[in-house]
């Protein structure tokens, strides 16, 4: 590795057009061939910093101050034409969503070759040859002809790799990777991560790796910088950040993915009585057989997790249980009585006892209602309570979910993501249910906030004897809260057992694949996985 600094950002300050400070006095240095991880929760400003390193600001954001020196040249001081020449050629951007970053009207080859031809680095035939090399290096199918396809004709993982090829097309000095694997499934993520790492190493490119997932970045980055609310918190070598964090905030971020399953759900709350039993259900969307013979049961006070990737059918299972999608065959038994398959057939009392908590709190509660109305309505609706009783109960519920009483008059727009999710939980509790189905309840939240919500859910289970069905793709969440786990693949359960057994001794190859694909908070985790694979292939 050379010692020359390729990118140097000093005193960066970004403000919104409304005048709010988004990034405050951030400094950043990157040496040739080095990878710096930018870590932070949402709102930390990391994406905006990534874009500013190309001297670009989205509409509504203004670069108010600071220098961006790329290879000795302050690109902020250049004129528009100068900046334009630098972009794509010396510093390139990999966006979070590849599907959105490609123009649907042009072929992939056209878009990958656009930058080097535009910047007069190569002729079109040279650029195409180079593109094919990159496609091969990125392990894309049929690399010789891949370029002739259009964005809508290839999968998400392939598009992400194509975007990496597009970024590397000019052999830039610096790559800015903005959450490149966040939108992908866990099993796809690991593939892309391996390829990105090898690409960066092979071409000796410096990289800015932006993400909120500390475990992921630990696999690729040499150094890590932690950001919070637009300010720097800490910076250091990866090993040091992971094992010897100096700031409290950093330590908390590291602990979230703590390998030591600190609070693995104890079995103390579980009782033998069966609350829900799904028996051999099959469901279809039109002709598509989306749920194929699924059976599970939940005991009182127990949390059963259903894990799967996108397309596995786990959300459909939730819809079947709540009555939104009747199964074509099979039945559901709730508290020893058969559950009517459709919502319309169920009595109000039955609807009351099964509640649902959604993934995205922003759309799960009506933005035009006050919290009092939101959590009070189920009380009024199910129990026919009068105004006084509703108010009293609303206050109880706020205490249960640990929100201040005066929030009752507020509207959702004034709350944070975590607070909104607490409101969703309070609304579910208002009905005094026996079973709560949680559909990816923490996926849209920051890791620290997600941790708080899980703690709250465990507490509520202890105090109220609730049963949970937890739908998720995140194995860490399962680790923390589920007593038993079902692993779902293409509409079927490939495993259904106590969580401990599944994690310690995964039998089915898909379960193994899933578990091993979750990044651990160790620097050498990725290399270990690679080594294991190579051994298995040999």
């Amino acid at each position: 590795m050379d010692d020359s600094t390729i990118l140097s950002i000093t005193g960066l300050r970004l403000v919104s057009i409304a005048g709010n400070v988004i990034v405050d006095n951030v400094n950043l240095h990157l040496k040739r061939g080095e990878v710096l991880g930018l870590i932070g929760e949402s709102g930390a400003g990391k994406s905006t910093i990534g874009l500013s390193s190309m001297s670009y600001a989205r509409a509504g954001v203004h670069i108010a101050g600071g220098e961006v020196v790329l290879g000795g040249v302050n690109i902020r001081a250049l004129d528009a034409e100068g900046r334009r020449e630098v972009r794509g050629k010396r510093i390139a951007y990999i966006a979070q969503s590849a599907a959105a970053a490609f123009n649907p009207a042009h072929s992939l080859m056209d878009q990958v070759c656009e930058a080097p031809v535009l910047h007069k680095l190569m002729t079109r035939p040279e650029a195409e040859a180079w593109a094919r090399e990159l496609f091969t290096a990125l392990d894309l199918p049929d690399p010789q002809n891949f370029g002739s396809r259009y964005p809508h004709q290839v999968s998400g993982g392939q598009l992400q790799r194509a975007m990496a090829a597009m970024a590397m097309s000019c052999r830039p000095d610096v790559l800015v990777l903005d959450e490149p694997t966040t939108a992908l499934d866990v099993t796809t993520q690991i593939e892309v991560l391996i390829l990105l790492k090898s690409l960066i190493r092979q071409y000796h490119t410096a990289a800015l790796y932006i993400t909120h997932d500390l475990a992921v970045v630990a696999q690729v980055a040499d150094r890590i910088k932690v950001l919070r609310h637009g300010k720097e918190v800490e910076e250091g070598l990866t090993q040091q950040i992971l094992h010897d964090a100096k700031q409290d905030y950093t330590a908390r971020l590291v602990a979230v993915r703590g390998a030591a399953a600190s609070e693995r759900a104890s079995g103390a709350t579980v009782q033998p009585e069966k609350v829900l039993s799904v028996q051999d259900c099959h469901a279809y969307y039109g002709d598509f057989h989306v749920v194929r013979g699924v059976s599970l049961d939940v005991q009182r006070g127990e949390t059963v997790a259903v894990v799967g990737e996108s397309g596995s059918g786990k959300s459909t299972l939730a819809r079947i249980i709540t009555g939104l999608l009747p199964p074509r065959s099979g039945q559901i038994v709730f508290q020893d009585k058969a559950l009517p398959p459709t919502l319309q057939e169920r009595s109000k009392e039955l609807k009351r006892t099964i509640q649902l908590v959604y993934q995205i709190p922003d759309v799960a509660i009506n933005p035009r209602q006050t919290l009092r109305e939101i959590i009070g309505r189920p009380v009024e609706f199910y129990f026919g309570a009068g105004r006084a009783e509703v108010n009293a109960r609303a206050q109880e519920l706020m205490t249960l979910v640990e929100l201040p009483q005066d929030y009752l008059e507020r509207r959702p727009g004034q709350l944070s993501g975590g607070q909104k999710q607490r409101v969703c939980i309070a609304r579910a509790l208002a009905a005094k249910p026996d079973l709560i189905i949680l559909d990816e309840p923490t996926s849209a939240l920051d890791p620290l906030v997600a941790e708080e919500i899980l703690t709250l859910l465990r507490k509520l289970q202890r105090e109220l004897g609730l049963s949970y069905i937890l739908i998720t793709h995140d194995l860490d969440v399962v680790h923390r809260i589920a007593h038993r786990t079902a692993v779902m693949l293409q509409g079927q359960f490939v495993a259904f057992d106590s969580t401990d057994k599944i994690f310690e001794n995964p039998e089915h190859p898909y379960t193994q694949k899933l578990i091993t694909a979750v990044p651990e908070m160790r620097v050498d985790w990725l290399d270990e996985v690679l080594a294991k694979r190579q051994k298995a292939a040999a």
Partner: protein, 334 residues
């Protein structure tokens, strides 16, 4: 062997454009179905809804004898669905019946007037479409700058003005004050082309102003929404210059919404034509219909309504088909 190659080519071709061809055929069928539905609707409104058409048209003061005569002339003694069928079949053969008021054969009066109206609308469209789409794209590119804001205010005013207001203003400026153009558009069948163009310039200009303002605004917002997409940002981040981004990246994706905008505004054109023809006393289909309406001449009203609606449905169908043709996802199948 040649036959084999042709068959293979046909198969390959049909597979590639299979979905697109299916969509186009579906849309055509929908268009034909819509035409039928529209004819039914018109018939229902004119002959069934009023209950007793005779008293509705002739009013309360009509004598019983007049009512009987009216009913016989309109053929109201025949059951409704037969009447509809006769009317429709006749229309498809070019026979739109006979006017109630002056006993003339409708199709003889309608066709030349339709030609005139189409000429006027075409004239206006020819100027308006390139002008407003071009200015709309420019406006979107310069969003926020003073030129864009000026265009915004001017077009806002233009779409708020009634058609006859614009017409009278133009007449005052160009006909009364400077005598460049005639204030009444007198066209006749025997007129030469350039004479016809001269006579219809003022009304065409009025129509143009009317429609161009709408089209400009809609084009602008279509292009703006394309400019806000992530792939446009990506193109800028690759270092592409503004012109290239707009021409190569934005416009191909804005084509579909712009085509839709143009089709929508052809509707405005049809509506505007009627009033403009009244102001300039232009012998077009609009005038004919307005006359028919004020005289309560039911067959004329039906015939004109059907003609206008047909033109409109055809335009919309054409626009939708064009949108299908430019869709990149359909042009390149999985």
């Amino acid at each position: 062997m040649l036959a084999g190659a042709l068959v293979m080519r046909a198969q390959f071709f049909s597979y590639r454009s299979h979905l697109m061809a299916k969509l186009i055929v579906n849309r055509l069928l929908l268009g034909i179905l819509t035409l039928f539905a529209v004819s039914v609707l018109i018939f229902v409104c004119t002959q069934i809804l009023p209950g007793d058409v005779a008293s509705a048209v002739l009013g309360q003061g009509a004598t019983p004898e007049a009512l009987v005569v009216f009913r016989r002339e309109l053929g109201l003694d025949v059951p409704a669905h037969l009447r509809y069928w006769n009317w429709l079949v006749g229309a498809l053969h070019g026979d739109l019946g006979v006017a109630l008021t002056n006993k003339r054969v409708i199709i003889d009066d309608l066709l030349p007037r339709l030609r005139n109206t189409l000429f006027l609308a075409g004239y206006a469209a020819l100027i308006a479409i390139p002008l407003s789409v071009g200015l709309g794209v420019l406006s979107a590119i310069n969003e926020g700058k003073w030129s864009d804001r000026l265009a915004n205010v001017l077009t806002l005013i233009a779409i708020s003005l009634p058609e006859f207001f614009i017409a009278y203003l133009l007449i005052i400026f160009f006909a009364v004050n400077v005598h460049w153009f005639p204030s009444l558009a007198m066209v006749s069948g025997s007129m030469g082309f350039s004479e016809r163009v001269f006579q219809t310039t003022l009304p065409a200009l009025t129509l143009t102003l009317l429609v161009a303002a709408h089209m400009l605004r809609m084009t602008r917002s279509s292009v703006l929404s394309v400019m806000s997409t992530p792939y446009i940002e990506m193109a800028f981040l690759k270092g592409a210059p503004r012109r290239r981004v707009i021409v190569r990246h934005a416009l191909p994706n804005a084509a579909a919404p712009i085509i839709t905008v143009i089709a929508l505004n052809m509707a405005y054109l049809v509506v505007g034509v009627v009033v403009i023809e009244a102001v300039f006393v232009y012998p077009g289909l609009g005038q004919y219909m307005v006359d028919g309406v004020s005289k309560r001449d039911v067959p004329v009203i039906q015939a004109c309504g059907l003609t206008f609606a047909t033109v409109f449905v055809l335009l919309n169908t054409l626009a939708d088909i064009l949108v299908i043709l430019v869709n990149p996802r359909l042009r390149h199948q999985r």
